[in-house]
Symmetry: C2
């Protein structure tokens, strides 16, 4: 049997491609990202120092065999060294003309936690002497030698860094040196000896003088580092498979520190911060690569190289332009100039800020380098999210971090930066914001619906309890308020009006800065920048391209009058101001208007409570008649803001006790009065307590709410439907194009719709007749009960649209009470890998998703042009949006601030699942 | 176009069969039960007076057309009369030789509330005279004539009964008569005239002298009565379709009151109370049928007819034997002997008690009249249920009936017999029961959740309103309290604290007897008997036949080691005593042992609470070690009781706060202490309150319970599994065959099982090794979360069995919190027809059932011999048991008392869905 090919020279890229069936991704998997890049550059005649790559397969074979090289591998590595010797005209371990190499790890994906580089392999006492004999600078030789011993000792032999750093520091102190540059050749020689002793002391054996043993051990060290704890943790966190393995790259050393005709640098082909199309980078004359990164010496801007080494720079510009064109992506390159000869040591896709990502993508499309579709795919939805939230100045953040001003860390629940004075209750927070025009950070252990007024008035929200889908988090995201929840280090003392974390006390009205993007809380004020979408022309361009893709690349049947085949982005908005903002952000419909929010407003709540306590239908109707004008004017504003767009209004959903005073508080009052013997007003309080007590439910989430409530007390929704249609008619008469869609929540059986919908449709018809105007409208249902999914065919015979309420659907499908689960077991479940993600943030495709898929298929079997959307919070989550595309939703609806994110995510989904290549959910 | 055939002579049964494609059920639907019986008897040469049936289709056509006879119907009726005249040699309306007929309604199902019989149609002044002229007894003629006018007036013309009864009473009073028998021919003639005047006064027109108009109006009256309120109500309550219509039977009058060679009677071919195989019935010489039923004269036992009219009786016996053999069922017949000539007027399947149903079925099978399978099908599961509840002594019931002690009749909502003193509100009912130790019957117009305490304290419940799924009915069945609802004759006067029905007033604290099995209320006390299964040999025989059917007629694959292909019946039992009873009742396994019940026992609860409050794992383990011996001994008892049978033990399920003191009570104590300034012990109470408060969940049903709790605090279930396996090992060593199956509740994702199951299996293995004994065991899961159904394939890769927890599965699938729903909207939902039945009683096949079907199919695709059962309350419901059979369950598990019911229901399902003719759930 012929041995497997474990080793590829850099100029054997064709062989690698052949072995991989021409698939470049497979080549990257085989040779690792770095190895593939070096091989690819070699093929493109870019000057790359000769070398070779030991494959990831070799790594896997080594690990599987219990840390034994697979048969033939070492022999192939030795043979490859011979080839490198031939190409360089040098000989490994030969003091006369020694070859030195570096050894670097390189997995398919760039991955911290694995073995770093070992430079200068091949140096030993003999080759060092040989080099000196050849006339090379002795100081350079011993500096290089001690680096090898140090790197090898630390990285390959696992000796702690301090074992090397301490004697060097002592030596310098003895000599009175401050900088490494003060060290002479003799000094470095002495240190080299010291470091060799360190190795002997720690390992019990000498630093190997055998270059081949150095090579072998370095190769093994790279292989082993694949299973190091940090690497495994990183892969777990980043979702990278554990069976990829890492490759080993052996590269001929080139030296940038051979005097003033040498140098080294790193550069990006475009500005990674702004995206501007100009070379961006740093270099150092007479230095090795690590010196640039370490920041020991002040680097020069890359453009100055034009003056320092004009020829090398010209060649460099030519090469980088070629690389960018070849990879059609901004490149991050490393280079070294050895005695005026340019060598490229690495090229890879450059990391960039969100802003740069957008500009580069749009520019490259405009330059014709990539298509618009590629441009859209180059920007992640998270990038867009970042660009829309206020952010802290990165320099100030860096200072705050180094200055010990990080106060606590919690869950990054709603992105953006906020700076303000802390207040510990909603009333004070609102008062300080509204009356005293303060910037407020509202701090609570957790929040409740009662706190919303304070939350809305606040610039930022911070809670010590709760998870990413707690009340605070949900409300904050809805309204785009930066929010950190579950900052468990913080102990809030509501009575003393202060909080304490890590022994630092922050009192009421003191300043903090809250980074909802990272979850970090800082003491004091940190400057922020607040970007505006309308000023971000590149982003607007990109989003318009995204919309074009969405409009054409659909995989769903078009409902009657539906303008596009693709996924549209609608918004969840309860108020006209939200609706206008969402429209400006590109929303083309309202997917969810929650009517009950309107019930909580100060002047309305007493009417609502009287309505609930009414003992006769007449009394109830009287109060509802008082509410009607309020609701009508709410809806008029919405229809005006959404002129020409569909507006889905959900009828009242929550159980009525949510509108009543807090039972425990009332209970406490009653008992206190009884014990004290106070009688005035006691009876009324007792009566109210009894009424509220009778409304109590063991599991309100599954209780008398939604359509059940509407069947129990039809008068409320009858008023709401009248308000909707009166508002629509009034606006229609003014020339506004209204498209109301009435959504009945919590349907579990079509019979519920059979009961209520005709009643409401009669009201709609009556109002249009009264007003003498007609317009299009729909009646449909929220699909949020598993049974509605399972019986979707029947439900769709009555409902004209479905809107997935995935918050509740997730609750019922898992049997998780969201409020309880997130502060109880859900965190542990995600930590333990029992759940891959929090299913309230990212849709559970296997469970909830299967029910949704069933509902769409069955629903459309009864009504082929059924309009299907999603209005749960998943509507703003890119992964969930992709799933909505796959199952054939017509739109997703999310909070106004998420609309641009969703537009991009929708385009990504459309591109990924192009019709023809349309994916079908696997039928289980 | 040829007119449709609307009328069938009794001897045209072949034509009816042909029209119905040979389907006898369709013939019964077309001609009604009575008409089909008369036709069938005619074909069998049984002496039936000539006559004909107007079809149910005619009735429907009449009602649809706005109360107009369909084209050709009346002509067909007239033509049929001509045929009847020919057969009888008499002529309708001809004074010389008049033909008289009766007109009777007859729907497919026997149904009270529709038009009663009108006898003697054809009588008028002329034919009366003609008959007298022919020498017939004048008194008989005018008695018959006044009966016609009275019946026709009341039934056809809708004149109140009193309008006739009062003048007759006055007349008798004037004459000094007490009995009708004292009335002479002239008296009846005078009364006939009086009755004719009553008609004229009430209707403004004369009683028709035209026999054909009499016939036409009577026919119409029968048709119209189909939509009468009482008939509609009855159909609603009994679940009979409203579009069946009623037929009209026109039958030649034969007279049992033509002197001492005439008579009339009703009889059952077997004793309908006991099932004994002997003729059972009553007759009267010289009487009309209604006299027998009305109880005016004392009837003779049927066997005395042998002496009175030996020839007629011999013929009668021959005919009834022939009928029973023909129908292969016990018959309920009506006959009249007119001057020694026997006429059969009706035959139908006889109603019978549950006891008789069983005995007749078993006897008939033993006699070879029917197969054992038919015998099994002849007895309903409800019959079995009845036989296991206390019942009234049949003899006392018969006496009460003949003694006029039947007070009222309502809907038999919850079976069983109860005797007690009536009280009209819940508080008094409870007080009398608890403080005065009275047996209480709680009587209300209807009940509400507020009344539950009284209902639970009562021996029986009686309401005048509501149907079989009203609050009273639902609660009563839930708690096994005998209950009658909708006894509409009763008028309850809550202020006077009395009720009245049929002019009899029952005051508070008076005794009544309530038969929830039949729906009858009796005055006074009737003795009850509590039957024992082991003494009911016929039932035991029948159940053994049922078991044979189940064992062989399965449609499911057999799990490894499974003895039968069919549905087995297991039981839900937590204690050895329950297990023994269930085994005696025929259970062959325990499908659910709830371990947490054991935690609530007095001496254990403090340990459990300490365990919950433990702050370290060590403290917790210490308390659990104390609990271990208790649990072990519980399980030892169970394994011993179920020697050789599988025992499924569910690990702890409820949230831990259920074991803690009541929060509200503690809160009240704390506030009271604070207000009073009491400090002693306050801090401890406050601390406990805080702890319990922290355990509070918004929706505990969907909270930290089941496997979630086990993952959160694995120590509890680790103790439980150790206890199970130690107990099993101890018993196995004693020679008991143990088959423990450990059930993990509330699984929503297979990853939960991945996490916990191996841990528990290691404990099982460790215990077996410690004890040096091995036995079969399984680890599996309850399937009660929708997501478990949807991802059943994955779940079954780890779980070795599924047990549907349909209580929770119904809650989650519908999103109904059972506690809240049953006292809120569920009653209205059932009343309004939004739900066909309470889904917590009868499995919702379309929704919950579809998920279950999916789970079984997907689960078996991963594990073909997956053991599947049900342990929710539906496991004892016959309709749900049928569904479990259809989807391929291996067993159903129900409460011990329901085991015999379930055995029979399982056999019914097996017979109904025989393999080969196996039904498949329609794929939606």
């Amino acid at each position: 049997m012929v041995d497997k090919k474990w080793v590829y020279l850099f100029d054997e890229v064709e062989a690698a491609e052949k072995a991989c069936g021409g698939d470049w991704e497979a080549v990257r998997a085989l040779l690792g990202g770095k190895g593939a890049g070096l091989a690819d550059m070699t093929r493109a005649n870019v000057p790359v120092p000769p070398g070779f790559t030991v494959t990831t397969e070799a790594c896997n074979a080594y690990l599987e065999a219990g840390e034994k090289f697979p048969p033939g591998m070492w022999e192939q590595e030795l043979a490859a060294m011979k080839q490198v010797e031939k190409k360089t005209g040098k000989a490994f371990g030969n003091p006369q003309n020694p070859l030195f190499v570096s050894c670097r790890s390189g997995a398919k994906f760039s991955m911290p936690g694995m073995m770093d580089t070992v430079l200068n392999i091949g140096l030993n006492d003999e080759t060092a002497q040989g080099m000196i004999a050849k006339g090379l600078d002795e100081r350079f030789i011993y500096d290089s030698y001690r680096r090898l011993v140090e790197m090898f000792g630390s990285v390959v032999l696992d000796i702690p860094d301090e074992a090397f750093e301490e004697p060097l520091a002592q030596y310098k102190a003895q000599k009175g040196y401050k900088l490494d540059t003060e060290m002479t050749a003799q000094d470095w020689k002495a240190i080299t000896d010291t470091f060799k002793k360190v190795v002997k002391e720690h390992k019990g054996f000498e630093f190997s003088q055998d270059p081949y043993e150095q090579l072998r051990l370095a190769t093994e060290a790279v292989f082993k580092s694949w299973n190091g704890k940090r690497a495994v943790d990183y892969r777990n966190a980043a979702g990278i498979a554990h069976d990829l393995g890492t490759a080993v790259n052996i590269v001929t050393m080139v030296f940038g520190n051979l005097g003033y005709t040498s140098g080294t640098g790193v550069a990006f082909t475009r500005d990674p911060a702004t995206g501007e199309n100009k070379m961006y980078g740093d270099y150092l004359i007479n230095a090795q690569g690590e010196d640039v990164v370490a920041g020991i010496r002040n680097t020069e801007k890359i453009e100055h190289l034009a003056k320092d080494m004009p020829e090398a720079y010209r060649e460099f510009l030519g090469i980088t332009e070629k690389l960018e064109r070849h990879y059609r992506e901004m490149q991050d390159v490393e280079f070294t100039i050895e005695e005026n000869k340019l060598w490229m040591l690495q090229t890879r896709t450059g990391k960039r800020t969100a802003k740069a990502a957008v500009k580069i993508a749009v520019d490259m499309a405009n330059e014709g380098l990539i298509t618009r579709e590629e441009a859209v795919l180059r920007v992640s939805p998270e990038n867009v999210d970042t660009l829309l939230h206020p952010q802290f100045d990165p320099k100030e953040i860096a200072q705050a971090r180094s200055g010990g001003r990080v106060y606590a860390k919690g869950v990054n629940a709603s992105p953006g930066a906020a700076v303000g004075q802390v207040y510990f209750d909603a009333d004070t927070a609102e008062k300080m914001a509204k009356e005293h025009h303060q910037s407020v950070i509202m701090v609570r252990p957790f929040t409740k619906p009662d706190d919303v007024h304070g939350m809305l008035a606040a610039k930022g929200i911070l809670t010590s309890e709760g998870g990413a889908t707690s009340h605070a988090a949900v409300v904050a995201r809805q309204f785009g308020v930066p929010c950190i929840v579950g900052a468990v280090e913080i102990r809030i003392d509501l009575e003393k009006r202060q909080m304490e974390a890590n022994d630092v006390v922050v009192k009421e009205s003191e300043w903090v800065s809250v980074d909802g993007t990272t979850g970090e809380v800082y003491l004091g004020q940190i400057a922020t920048t607040a970007p505006k979408l309308e000023e971000q022309t590149d982003l607007l361009t990109l989003l318009s391209w995204a919309d074009e893709i969405c409009a054409t690349d659909g995989i769903r049947p078009a409902p009657a009058g539906w303008p596009t085949r693709g996924l549209q982005v609608w918004t969840n908005a309860d108020y006209p101001a939200d609706a206008r903002r969402a429209r400006a952000y590109g929303a083309v419909g309202i997917g969810l208007c929650r009517t009950e929010h309107m019930f909580f407003e100060t002047e309305r709540l007493p009417i609502v409570q009287r309505m609930i306590l009414a003992e006769t239908s007449e009394e109830r109707t009287k109060e509802l008649n008082e509410l009607l004008p309020y609701q009508r004017s709410d809806f008029e504003g919405l229809f005006e803001a959404m002129d020409g767009c569909p507006v889905i209004i959900r009828l009242i959903d929550p159980p009525l006790h949510e509108f009543m005073p807090d039972k425990d508080k009332l209970f406490e009052e009653v008992i206190t009065m009884r014990v004290k013997g106070e009688t005035k007003g006691l009876e009324a309080k007792e009566e109210l307590l009894a009424t509220i007590g009778a409304m109590h439910e063991s599991n309100p989430m599954m209780g008398l709410r939604g359509v059940r409530l509407s069947i129990y007390i039809p008068e409320i929704v009858e008023m709401q439907v009248r308000a909707i249609f009166e508002a629509a008619a009034n606006q229609a008469k003014k020339g506004v194009v209204v498209k109301p869609e009435v959504m009945i929540p919590l349907t579990g059986t079509v019979k519920e719709l059979d009961w209520i919908q005709p009643r409401l449709e009669r009201i709609a018809a009556a109002v249009m007749q009264e007003k003498g105007v007609t317009f299009e409208y729909k009646f449909g249902t929220m699909v949020e009960i598993p049974r509605a999914c399972v019986t979707a065919r029947e439900v769709a015979e009555v409902a004209e649209f479905f809107s997935f309420g995935t918050n509740d659907l997730t609750q019922m499908t898992f049997g998780y009470s969201r409020d309880d689960a997130e502060r109880n077991f859900l965190v542990k479940y995600v930590e333990e890998g029992i759940l891959p993600k929090n299913p309230f943030q990212t849709l559970d495709r296997e469970g909830v998703g299967r029910l949704m898929d069933m509902a769409v298929k069955d629903g459309r079997s009864a009504r082929p042009d059924l309009e299907v959307g999603i209005c749960g919070e998943h509507g703003g989550d890119p992964d969930s949006i992709e799933f909505c595309h796959i199952i054939g939703n017509n739109y997703v609806s999310c909070s106004p601030f998420r609309v641009p994110v969703a537009r991009l995510a929708a385009a990504h989904a459309a591109l990924k699942h192009r019709p023809g290549g349309a994916e079908i959910i696997e039928d289980k």
